[in-house]
């Protein structure tokens, strides 16, 4: 019997405080199931389903898990610290009745064991359901066969258990220390006393601002998202920490300012709400920070995945200008000369005639592609090491002949020998001249404004490295000048590429078979004069991109729903726990003459003060995340930032609506709780 004493006491404590403990456990379950689902989606078993982008998705999801673990730690730690405060009176009573700190620690230990065991068990159970639903959705998106056997990913499960046991462990230790350090009297009083502002509040706020500034700086200056993917996640974690620090410190400052402003504070609709905000200023800040972070997550995921989905068609037309697209890389720049190209084209025409295929030219571009380091208006193609490819100043330079440009775009520009047109959409190149340099060789051009903003049809030239397209009159001259020097260098290469896209008008021709047949024949005909050659089939690419982006969209929506649920839960938790706390207070206020209308007005006033803060934070985070995410989207083949901007704005608007609705509904819950007070 004796051995069961503490578990029973712990269980009683939980049962008696179920109104406090239940929302907390619910939050834990939600966090755990979220974590498990994301871990499951990150596991190779799931990513195997994706046709492409497997590695990137895996890395992202895995790092996402890490971010979520940090977020869960901060969020649950705070939630629990308020719970412990509420329970402190009970512990104080036990203390007075003769229980030592050791015994109290035992009760806390048993309680933690019960709540965390319960949370982990049900969290994983719900996570399994979520992950199965995601898997089914993903498979149906990719057109695979759906199985209804539930698979439990052992690795995800074990990591979930380990991570959350760790989190609950930290929470448990902090509770034991907290109770151990205080006297019986301070324990008994602690649920009555208002929150004290954190020590060195200004410092915390400042520290938060500095961290946030650092994170924003990283986000804005990262040039190459692949090499810097770790930095990206460092920035994410910094943003999370900074949001908490800033909002907690900020809400303390805000409360003080509001309270000091006597003509604002002593108004019927502000009086009660401001004072209760002061009473729990830290908790308020922590709650708002959690909401802000989750909102940011939802917005980032939703806007980027929907953008990928809506950009799919665009992506396809820019990557596949024609039904069949031949890409040939020559060994020698001479081979890009008109005679040679026309010869090959005629050869292809001949094949077309033989096979009875009616093909029209969609695109025909010849260009040189070199990588070099930018220094002012000079691009130096000499590379000292492979590492330079990941530096910030690396540029991809594509040189196109003026004739080829005029022919493709239908313009009729003319340039003198020392003039060039430049397209540099993803890097600022605001100079009057451009100098290409490699060793002793250098060519300078005066820049002439192009007649259009973008070089249509040249989208496939894009790379994750900033691109400069240079249209010059003497194409072979440039090629000849640099070929030797660039090839002599161990680390740099010059690609001499020809892109030839055709649309097929004849029915019954399978484009992939046609492409295959033509490349085979070309291989034979060109013998050893090319370094590589392949063709891209639009039909194939289309289905691949549709299913890939479709599955990203699905994953995005799934994750958004999970995160949005978490946000709902946090808001609900806030309203419920505050409702029960305020219940008695509103009872007193009614006796003193507060009307139901006054209560409603005071709730609305609080709503107006705190409601927009998380949205504002999420908005600002989003603005700073924008450059880095649009760079990441390039990895997935989306080169234009405009659709992303649109989906971001739309997602933000929709989320704001959703958030408003949730807040309204849950504030009714709050109202019902407090107005029941007698």
């Amino acid at each position: 019997m004796r051995t069961l004493f503490y578990p029973r006491l712990a269980w009683d404590g939980i049962r008696k405080n179920k109104r406090m403990v239940f929302p907390y456990v619910l939050t834990c379950i939600c966090m755990i199931s979220m974590f498990y689902t994301v871990a499951y989606l990150a596991s190779p078993h799931t990513t195997e389903l994706l046709p492409r982008g497997r590695g990137t998705t895996e890395t992202f999801m895995a790092l996402g898990c890490f971010v979520m673990a940090i977020f869960s730690l901060i969020f649950l730690f705070y939630t629990n610290s308020f719970l412990i405060r509420r329970r402190a009176a009970e512990f104080g009573l036990y203390n007075v009745l003769g229980m030592g700190k050791r015994n109290l620690a035992k009760i806390i230990t048993h309680e933690s064991m019960i709540t965390s065991g319960f949370s982990i068990f049900f969290g994983i159970a719900i996570g399994i359901v979520f992950s199965k639903i995601s898997e089914i959705g993903l498979i149906s998106m990719l057109g695979g066969t759906i199985t209804y056997t539930v698979r439990v990913d052992l690795f995800s499960m074990v990591s979930t258990v380990i991570v959350f046991t760790g989190i609950f462990g930290i929470i448990w230790i902090s509770s034991v220390i907290r109770v151990g350090r205080s006297t019986a009297v301070s324990l008994m009083k602690s649920d009555k006393a208002g929150e004290k502002p954190p020590k060195a509040n200004w410092f915390l706020g400042l520290f938060g601002a500095v961290i946030l500034g650092g994170a924003y700086y990283i986000a804005c200056t990262l040039k190459n998202p692949i090499s810097a993917i770790m930095w990206f996640f460092v920035a994410v974690v910094m943003v999370i920490v900074a949001t908490y620090l800033l909002l907690i410190a900020g809400s303390v400052v805000l409360c003080r300012i509001l309270q000091k402003n006597k003509s604002y504070y002593y108004k019927a609709n502000h009086f009660v709400s401001v004072s209760s905000m002061v009473y729990r200023m830290k908790r308020n800040g922590a709650g708002l920070a959690s909401i802000a972070i989750i909102s940011t997550m939802v917005l980032v995921i939703l806007s980027s995945t929907t953008c990928l989905w809506f950009g799919t068609q665009r992506m396809i037309t820019s990557l596949y200008p024609g039904d069949v697209n031949f890409m040939i890389n020559f060994r020698d720049s001479d081979q890009l000369a008109d005679e040679n190209i026309n010869f090959i084209k005629e050869y292809i025409d001949e094949i077309n005639r033989e096979e009875n295929v009616d093909a029209s030219v969609a695109l025909d571009i010849r260009y040189l592609n070199m990588f070099g380091n930018a220094d002012g208006d000079t691009i130096d193609f000499e590379m000292s090491s492979m590492d330079e490819y990941s530096s910030d100043i690396i540029r991809s330079v594509c040189v196109v002949s003026l004739d080829n440009y005029n022919e493709q775009t239908g313009s009729s520009l003319s340039l003198s020998d020392d003039e060039a047109i430049i397209f540099a959409s993803d890097c600022n190149f605001n100079y009057d001249t451009i100098t290409l340099k490699c060793g002793d060789v250098s060519d300078s051009f005066r820049i002439v404004k192009p007649d259009t903003k973008t070089f249509t049809g040249a989208d496939f030239m894009k790379d994750i490295v900033p691109l400069i397209i240079l249209v010059v009159p003497d194409f072979t001259g440039v090629a000849g000048d640099f070929a030797e020097c660039v090839d002599a260098d161990d680390y740099s290469i010059m690609d001499m590429r020809w892109v030839y896209s055709v649309d097929i008008a004849t029915d019954g021709i399978v484009s992939s078979e046609y492409g295959y047949a033509v490349t085979e024949k070309l291989r034979d005909a060109l013998e050893d004069n090319f370094s590589w050659m392949y063709f891209l089939d639009r039909e194939e690419g289309e289905s691949e991109y549709l299913s890939l982006n479709g599955s990203f969209l699905f994953l995005g929506i799934m994750l958004s729903i999970i995160f949005a649920l978490a946000a709902v839960l946090i808001i609900y938790y806030k309203q419920i726990s505050e409702g029960y706390e305020d219940c008695k207070r509103f009872g007193v206020m009614r006796k003193v003459g507060m009307t139901g209308k006054d209560i409603k007005r005071s709730i609305n006033s609080q709503l107006l003060v705190v409601f927009f803060i998380p949205l504002v934070f999420a908005g600002v985070h989003l603005i700073f995340a924008f450059p880095i995410i649009s760079k990441l989207l390039v990895l997935f083949g989306l080169y234009d930032a405009t659709p992303f901007m649109i989906t971001t704005i739309v997602s933000f608007a929709l989320f704001a609506l959703f958030y408003t609705a949730v807040y309204k509904v849950t504030s009714n819950v709050y109202y019902n709780i407090v107005s029941d007070a007698k």
């Binding site: 009555k192 009086f271 002061v278 009473y279 007193v588 206020m589 006796k591 003459g593």
Partner: protein
Amino acid sequence: MSLLEVKNLKKVYKTRFGGQEVEALKDVNFTVESGEYVAIMGESGSGKTTLLNILAALDKATAGKVILQNMDLSGISDKAVATFRRDNLGFVFQEFNLLDTFTLEDNIYLPLVLAGNSYKTMKGKLDPIADKLGITSLLKKYPYEVSGGQKQRAAVARALITDPKIILADEPTGALDSKSSDELLKLFGEVNEMGQTILMVTHSAKAASCAGRVLFIKDGEVYHQIYRGDTTNELFYQKITETLTVLTRGGNIA
């Protein structure tokens, strides 16, 4: 014209499942004149608290009337009742009912803030009251930082600040030690001398002995009342205890 008139007041509670009816107040009649200090005594279960709740418009009577300065309480709509309380009544509770979220100062301001007063007017009203109650130095403290007696004084200040027609006190000394009780009762006496009408429900003979008149309630009716007249507190106290003894024995009063 009396300040407060209670006529044939009746309150019947139904048990939760509609079965039994419990008569908390049978037929209560009394009046309170302006400036009076009245104590209502009775055993627990005699209907004291029910009576006070009805007087405070926190509860509705089954039958009968409560008239405060020509105003019938039963005629006030639910909407206006909170405002009515705020404007006309001051409350002092056994458990103080101060809010943890407010400093003592803000607790005292609460009814005025709800009534829409400006900070300047409130401050003007508070200063003399706080001075009188000796809590000026405590105003910036929170309820959990001060003693029970100090809390109750703040609660009295909150009741006084609206300049109410009548103060309703529900066992105001119930949660206080004897020294704080004495101080509070002294305070009530002084406030009453300044012309404030007080109606106090208590089961403490000592508290009642400070009042000008004591009403005894038994079985839902005013059973007896005695006036202090010119007697001292001690003598009045004796009279009260004698009456209580008779009351509990159930005999007739001579």
